[in-house]
Amino acid sequence: MLNKNRVLVAMSGGVDSSVAITKLNEMGYETIGITLKLWETIDPETKIKKNSHCNSTEAINGAKMICDRLGVHHYTINEIDSFKKYVVDDFTNEYLKGRTPNPCVKCNSYVKWGNLIEQANKFDAYYIATGHYARIEKSSNKTMIKKGVDTLKDQSYMLWHINKDLIDRTLLPIGDLKKEEVRQYAKEKNLETSNIPDSQDLCFVMDGDYRNFLNRFMPEKMEKIEGGEIKSEDGSVVGTHSGFTNYTIGQRKGLGLSNPEPRYVKKINPISNTITVAKKASMFSGVCIAKEINWLVDTPKFPLKAFTKIRYNSLGSMALIEKIDESYLVTFEESQLAITPGQSIVFYNEETLLGGGIIEDSNE
């Protein structure tokens, strides 16, 4: 029988998760802090192992200080194998296919709402909690994920892939707050982690450059990736590229092209090893195909009208979603710029996160 008063709190050691556990503690929950050790890199020169950003030594120590002040247990649990399998391997494979993945999405569904839930079962804890900027709302026997109150920080986009059944076992205690309020609260409570800067980059890419990471992680595969042709939409060769993994859809800088009107990467074709560039006007598209759809609400009836985001910080647009066999055709009311295969497409009904999928192919 799982204890409904006990919560395992995922602690990155940053201010958000520190405030999350402190708030839950105040609310009377019995909290246990867990830092998931997800990744370590080995410095090629010194051979010294370094933890990734989200589980740096300082982060783990920060989490330990917070748990100590609350008088609760803290454990560091090694999930490096799982993180590699579900997040890093997926990340690198997607780039090899010329796609642009969202590793945070997979980390949430497989590691946080996967491995952490397994841990919660071991602790007899019904709940897990994180410091995500999103909200959980219960109404008439249904539990839903809603956008965070802080519209600039809202992280609901990264949560679409989690198992629907686990929403009821989730607490997101800082979703009602704005970032400034979280920091303010941390300062008022004198939390040791109150001044830790926000994490920005992918936690396992230490220097922030995914290209360096790919080269270091799979040198054999990356050596085989050679330069190729950059073509314009009419098929004429306009330049050369240094290897397709170095480019993402919508990229403008670093193409080495001199046109009076800037060109953007429109398509990456790893098979022909070509990159197609286009003018901005041609980068807009009104439709796309999505796969791997996951619904966080009862499976809707199609066609479905939903507010749709094609990337974390896109403004989004209303769209019509139709189911065609195993795929979904999404038709936007407003054309979208640089729809990128591999990115998450996420559906909302106003504040409620309905679900999402992976963008397969932008319309040609």
């Binding site: 050790k37 933890n51 783990i60 247990h73 454990y75 560091t76 649990i77 090694n78 079962n121 071991k122």
Partner: protein
């Protein structure tokens, strides 16, 4: 919740008498032992009395003890201070990282290192050392008691062997000192590292025994304290504390060794009675350190579940990151990965009672059974 501490091999609580002594020294003396004036003289006397006391307890000359910051530092000073380019070092593959990583570093600097593997019982065999000696061999460094397994190596035999070959012998005796009688002048040990916090003394202080006549090259530079080998103003409070702690430990060791051995045997008996599926690893163990494989539960799970119930044990040796990692020693005794992932270290010391030990066994049984039932339920 009352916490019961069964991880004495990681560190020990500070002895109350030691704390009182340390408080006395720190509230009355602050002079720099190197100063000429009375303040300095008082502090100097504290340091030198500690040295004399420790030399007496270890059966060596007071000129043979230098004070260091910890056991790791003692190991570093010994190895780095002796080995020169072209020399050969023999050590074991299951040493504490303070020796292992120092040896790795020496390799980068043109020193040849042989890493002897322990046998499956967790012991270094004399013949393996004998076979590894060559004309370039300068030093053999083998740990006295392995920190994860609790196995005690044939140190005196190894020391005799090295003496016969005119080779120096160093031992990391961090897990032994305070638990057993040792008279260094009667052995052929040339260098020995020890650490105060393993015998109910303070953390952040250790010592290195260096037999008279052996010269080490300094690796740290400063004001010349501790024969130039560990320069820096002496930590008089901790040095005094270490000396008192060693004295107490040696006075009480027979009584406590007997008790700890009793704890150990009643613990194992109880595990059998509770029908727990376990294997006790290693032979020729010193009492108090038990390396146990519980075949029905992962070490991470049992360590956490017991901690939640108020019992502190270890999933291996304590590592600075505070998370579980694959144990070096278990790999080196060729334990398979699955067993290694289910192996824990439980170590008993002066803070416990028989009652605690009985409750610990019951708790272990409870945790394993609960997990077993959960697994069965999951399968169904």
């Amino acid at each position: 919740m009352k916490m019961i501490y069964c991880d004495i091999a990681a560190t020990t609580p500070l002895n109350k008498d030691v704390l009182d002594e340390m408080t006395k020294v720190s509230s009355s003396f602050f002079g720099n032992p190197s100063s000429i004036h009375k303040f300095g003289q008082e502090s100097k006397a504290i340091v030198e009395r500690a040295r004399l006391n420790m030399a007496n307890l270890l059966g060596c000359d007071l000129s043979e003890i230098i004070f260091t910051g910890c056991g790791s530092e003692s190991n570093n000073i010994a190895l780095l201070g002796l080995m020169k380019m072209g020399d050969h070092l023999i050590t074991s593959s299951y040493e504490h990282p303070a020796v292992l990583k120092t040896a790795n570093e020496l390799e980068k600097n043109g020193i040849d290192v042989t890493y002897i593997k322990p046998n499956s019982s967790g012991l270094i065999e004399l013949k393996d050392i004998k076979n590894s000696i060559n004309t370039k061999t300068k030093l053999v460094s083998i740990m006295y008691v392995n920190n994860e397994l609790g196995t005690e190596n044939p140190i005196n035999q190894i020391a005799e062997l090295t003496k016969k070959h005119g080779i120096l012998f160093h031992t990391d005796a961090v897990q032994l000192i305070g638990k057993k009688e040792i008279t260094l002048r009667d052995t052929s040990i040339d260098l020995l590292s020890l650490s105060a916090h393993k015998f109910y003394g303070p953390k952040g202080v250790g010592a290195l025994y260096i037999k008279n006549g052996i010269d080490l090259i300094p690796t740290h530079f400063g004001g010349g304290q501790e024969k130039e080998l560990r320069p820096g103003t002496e930590n008089i409070v901790s040095i005094h504390g270490m000396s008192i702690a060693l004295q107490k430990s040696m006075e009480e060791k027979d009584e406590w060794n007997k008790k700890v051995a009793e704890y150990e045997s009643s613990f194992l008996k109880k595990l059998k009675k509770l029908k727990i599926n376990y294997t006790l690893n290693g032979s020729n163990r010193i009492s108090g350190i038990l390396n146990i494989t519980f075949h029905d539960i992962l070490s991470q799970d049992i360590v956490i579940a017991l901690d939640m119930k108020g019992y502190a044990i270890s999933g291996g040796s304590a590592c600075s990151s505070g998370s579980a990692k694959t144990s070096t020693s278990l790999k080196e005794i060729k334990m398979d990965d699955e067993s290694a992932s289910k192996t824990v270290r439980i170590s008993f010391g002066k803070n416990l009672t028989t009652q605690n030990i009985m409750e610990l066994s019951d708790c272990i049984s409870e945790v394993i059974n609960k997990q077993y039932h959960k697994r069965v339920a999951d399968v169904k």
